[in-house]
Amino acid sequence: MKYNSVFDIIGPVMVGPSSSHTAGAARIGKAARNLFGKQPKWAKIHLYESFAKTYKGHGTDFALAAGLLGFETDDPQMSKALEIAKQNGLEIEFIEDSASAVNPNTARLIIGDDAEQLELVGISIGGGKVEITELNGFELRLSGNHPAILIMHNDRFGAIASVTKILAKYEINIGHMEVNRKDVGKEALMVIEVDQNVDDDILKELEEADHIIQISKIVS
């Protein structure tokens, strides 16, 4: 089920005017920031379909900026986020992309700083609810309903077992898990939705496990 809480329906509390285009956009921006692990210095944001056609009127642009700055959907500074981003050294470029997308409210965010970059596709499915459908070229389906760990690893036998063994040791239950790879033996992405937030100590231990390249987490 796409929606699992009554507060997806009665909520979120948000700055207007659109739950899909404003609150949802802010949440996509925030998911990107969380996955990047820090505030990016630049962002190139491609907008598709309804996002592309109506983003100015709905404040989708400042909402995405607000998310990248780490704002919540009801932050009263939301509408000033573009200026605040500029003051904080975050350059944002918006591209109205005419390519078609499966979901009417789709954004592709390419964000980075001097050292690294991240590419993410987020969709806003209604009432402020979002899903992350692509990360650095990997397809995934991340609902944001639960905390999640994203693990970039080498496609080798034992990689998954080494991760699940550590989670089992700390009695962390896996609610949903998927693994996606670019090619046999190349980079792969493990997405694990868990029932409770995972401590940084455990993440550190996961990072040192066999065949693991990089780890990030999303707090629900």
Binding site: K2, S5, V15, G16, P17, A23, T54, G57, G126
Partner: protein, 291 residues
């Protein structure tokens, strides 16, 4: 977990509890929270709704100037004249429009189920409250009942205009309100389901065609339509009128109609009212460009 309205009503009837109670128990179960925690969270949403209506009654204006002030106008009319459709009805309409005026002015609202349709649930609640004198707990339960029905729509169809047109937003919001009014007025779970079905049936096919792509025209007045239809449908259901088409089948019809809607009528600001001479002119004025 209930997946359909039929299941929702069945649980309520079998356990002899209210629809709101089914939703509260499921939320406690899914989120592993106590009753107090779940109530507290909903109380916060209720407070946001209350504040938005208060703000609206002071008079608000959107940045574009397209919307704002109509809620105040209606309240003034109600004081000076006797509204033809009755005081409660116009009070709901005014509070629903007011909430959406605050939303259009980029104020803080609670999405129910979306921001564009955020007026219907609080508008009807704070109007019906004057006549039914509910306790604070019953007001919070109103939101759980509305949420239970919205939950089914969101999981079986859609609640966003971009996905399914305005029928998915104001249609759902109005129907959720109708179901909640019935429970507050002492109706049965089945009557809530009838009220929901009757409302949504009358919203089928409604397109999402915002002028200049803004959540202003016609969104504010569509919340007036959604909230008034909710009250009429609740009265019909409480009188014993039933929907010949079962609630879940109406939701299914709404889903299929939404899938058949062209993109131009799903929140792209390209068709319908947005594509009228005045609609295009307003867009040009606001953004300094032609369509």
């Amino acid at each position: 977990m209930f997946r359909t309205v039929a299941e929702l009503v069945e649980i309520a009837e079998k356990e002899n509890i209210l629809i709101s109670e089914v939703m509260i128990r499921q939320e406690m179960d899914v989120k592993e929270k106590t009753r107090d925690e779940v109530f507290e969270e909903m109380e916060k949403n209720l407070q946001v709704m209350e504040r938005a209506i208060d703000d609206a009654m002071q008079g608000v204006q959107s940045v574009t100037g397209l919307t704002g002030g109509d809620a105040v106008l209606v309240q003034k009319y109600m004081k000076e004249k006797t509204p033809l459709s009755g005081h409660l009805m116009m009070d709901a309409v005014s509070k629903a429009m007011g909430t959406n005026e605050v939303n259009a002015a980029m104020g803080i609202i609670c999405a129910t189920p979306t921001a564009g349709s955020a007026g219907c649930v609080p508008g009807t609640l704070f109007a019906v409250k004057e006549q039914l004198n509910p306790t604070r707990e019953q007001m919070i339960r109103y939101l759980f009942t509305a949420g239970a029905f919205g939950f089914v729509v969101a999981n079986n169809a859609f609640i966003s205009g971009a996905a399914g047109g305005c029928q998915a937003e104001v249609g759902s919001a109005g129907a959720m309100s109708a179901a909640a009014i019935v429970e507050m007025a002492g109706g049965t779970p089945q009557q809530s389901s009838e009220a929901f079905a009757i409302t949504l049936k009358n919203m089928l096919g409604l397109v999402c065609d915002p002028v200049a792509g803004l959540v202003e025209v016609p969104c504010v007045k569509r919340n007036a339509a959604g909230s008034s239809l909710a009250i009429v449908s609740a009265d019909l259901a409480l009188a014993g009128v039933t929907s010949r088409i079962p609630c879940d089948e109406v939701i299914g019809a709404m889903y299929r109609i939404g899938q058949q809607m062209p993109t131009s009528l799903r929140e792209t600001g390209e068709g319908g009212l947005a594509d009228t001479p005045t609609g295009r002119l307003l867009k040009e004025k606001i953004f300094g460009m032609t369509m």
